[in-house]
């Protein structure tokens, strides 16, 4: 029999945490789950050496230990049915049902193709942070951080803290755009403080604007990169390149549940009302999957969703704060808008689909994801098109096709043994 919870929260980053805290305070029985082994999401990912960030540690500990909370780490949603989710962890698959569902599935990095981007030694910017916090060795390694957005600063701080020799941060946005953004930061005092702290921790690491990594080179692994910047092209020898172009909402579960989407740039995000309700009854969404808004915004939206799902009232000041946080996201988008040059970095032989090794030139005859997939295998691999589909959408070629179960690659045992079924298992003879 599937276990039932008042409220199920998918994702344990700031939005999921805030939702859980708020709903628990209202007396709800809450189950919350995350694919990672510790709560915190990406932005508050637990560091094997340094633990959680201080402000997150308190609430995480509180929620994990709350008597009405069921915490399911390393758990992925693999399929959805009417008011039920099919889950799996490392050992088993099972089903839970819910009164209300809060989606807090966050975002992933926007990872874009350029020549050499498949070489070992190249990761996302947040990707490197995630790896390092779980023990990836960086001691004495020469690391370049590149791409776009404030995440690059955080990645550099983490890398440095773990002993990396960070050669520089290369931001694609122009000097003018970045400084324009910095001048606006006073409107969000929390952000200004955060930026100041990051800057102080970055002492000694050069920050270059208007700089784009155009190529990575190396025989079996990364050896050097080429960067186009205001002063021409330069080559840098390095061991590790952490490169991310911002974030993309993780909407696959919401899509599978039938929640209405809207477009933010080239990528879909979940359409919600001011109470974080999606178009589907009893399903809420909060944080990055409703459009990239940052940590503070995610926290506020999670809190709103948790309160509304638990049947509580929300006061106007909370809504006001949430709207203000969203304006920060808009400023971020405006100032860190991608240089169209980045869309043209991939060459005909650059692999777009990393799972199936499909180069850009193989896709030129197709104008929809399905035809391209049937003919070239692009998007047929294990990432289910999350990397190539997102990149192709960003490059303006064609959007990723819809999501079907399993939501992530799932063990056949988990898919096959979830329900009571008419056929019973037995051996032959």
């Amino acid at each position: 029999m599937a276990k039932r919870y008042d409220i199920v929260i998918v994702g344990a980053g700031p939005a999921g945490l805030a939702a859980a805290e708020a709903a628990l305070a209202q007396g709800a029985r809450v189950a919350w789950l995350d694919a990672q082994s510790a709560a915190g999401g990406q932005v508050w990912r637990k560091d094997i050496r340094y633990g959680w960030p201080r402000q997150a540690a308190r609430v995480i500990t509180e929620v994990v230990n709350h008597p009405h909370a069921t915490w399911m780490p390393q758990t992925q949603v693999i399929a959805a049915e009417q008011n039920a989710l099919l889950l799996q962890n490392e050992r088993e698959g099972w089903r839970i049902t819910y009164g209300s569902l809060i989606l807090a599935t966050g975002a992933r990095e926007l990872l874009l193709p350029f020549p050499g981007w498949t070489l070992p030694g190249i990761t996302g910017a947040g990707g490197l942070q995630a790896l390092v916090k779980q023990g990836w060795p960086l001691d004495g390694r020469r690391v370049v951080i590149a791409g776009s957005g404030p995440l690059l600063l955080a990645a550099a701080v983490t890398a440095k803290r773990h002993g990396a020799h960070v050669l520089g941060i290369y931001e694609q946005a122009s000097d003018a755009a970045v400084h324009g953004f910095a001048r606006k930061l006073w409107r969000w005092p929390g952000k200004a403080l955060q930026a100041a702290v990051l800057r102080s921790q970055l002492a000694g690491i050069p920050y270059h604007c208007g700089s784009i990594v155009t190529r990575a080179l190396g025989e079996h692994a990364l050896e050097r990169i080429e960067i186009d910047g205001p002063h021409g092209t330069q080559r840098i020898e390095c061991d590790q390149l952490a490169i991310g172009y911002g974030l993309v909402p993780n909407v696959e579960l919401a899509q599978m549940l039938g929640c209405a989407m809207k477009q933010e740039g080239a990528h879909p995000c979940v359409d919600v009302d001011t109470s974080q309700r999606t178009s589907v009854t009893n399903i809420y969404a909060a944080g990055e999957l409703c459009g990239i808004g940052g940590r503070d915004c995610a926290w506020l939206e999670g809190r709103i969703a948790g309160l509304v799902a638990a049947g509580a009232d929300i006061d106007a000041s909370l809504l006001r704060q949430q709207r203000h946080a969203r304006t920060f996201a808009a400023a971020l988008r405006e100032h860190f808008k991608l240089d169209p040059y980045i869309h043209d970095l991939a060459q005909p032989d650059t692999l777009i689909c990393r799972c199936e090794d499909v180069p850009l030139q193989a896709l030129k005859d197709y104008d929809d994801a399905r035809s391209a997939k049937l003919a070239t295998r692009c998007g047929m691999g294990a990432c289910q098109g999350r990397i190539c589909g997102t990149a192709l959408a960003e490059l303006g070629l064609f959007p990723r096709s819809g999501q079907r179960p399993p939501l992530f690659p799932a063990r056949l045992a988990s898919l096959g043994e979830l329900a009571s079924s008419s056929e019973t298992e037995g051996s032959f003879s």
Binding site: P120, G124, L131, G135, A221, R354, G381, C383
Partner: protein, 80 residues
């Protein structure tokens, strides 16, 4: 920090408990996997999205090494 002993491609390795299998492989300086056309690949997204870090863990192939923590006695096989 407590250590656990794992085995990567036949080599025993003592690593801190709680680190990811991906981190352990990187510490061992072993390669990760070959792509379908034979190129070397290694962790890319770091958060379970890209599936570039897949290795065989305790006899089961295609496991994301960035999503699994090391366990004492774990047997890891890469494409190296």
């Amino acid at each position: 920090m407590t250590q656990v002993r794992i085995n990567i491609d036949g080599h025993a390795l003592d690593v801190p408990a709680g680190i990811s299998v991906a981190a352990a492989i990187a510490q061992s300086q072993r390669p990760f996997r070959r792509s379908v056309s034979g190129h070397m690949r290694a962790p890319f997204c770091g958060m379970g999205i890209c599936f570039e870090c897949r290795v065989q863990i305790d006899g089961i192939a295609q496991q994301r090494s960035c999503m699994v923590s090391v366990r004492d006695g774990m047997q890891v096989v890469t494409d190296g």
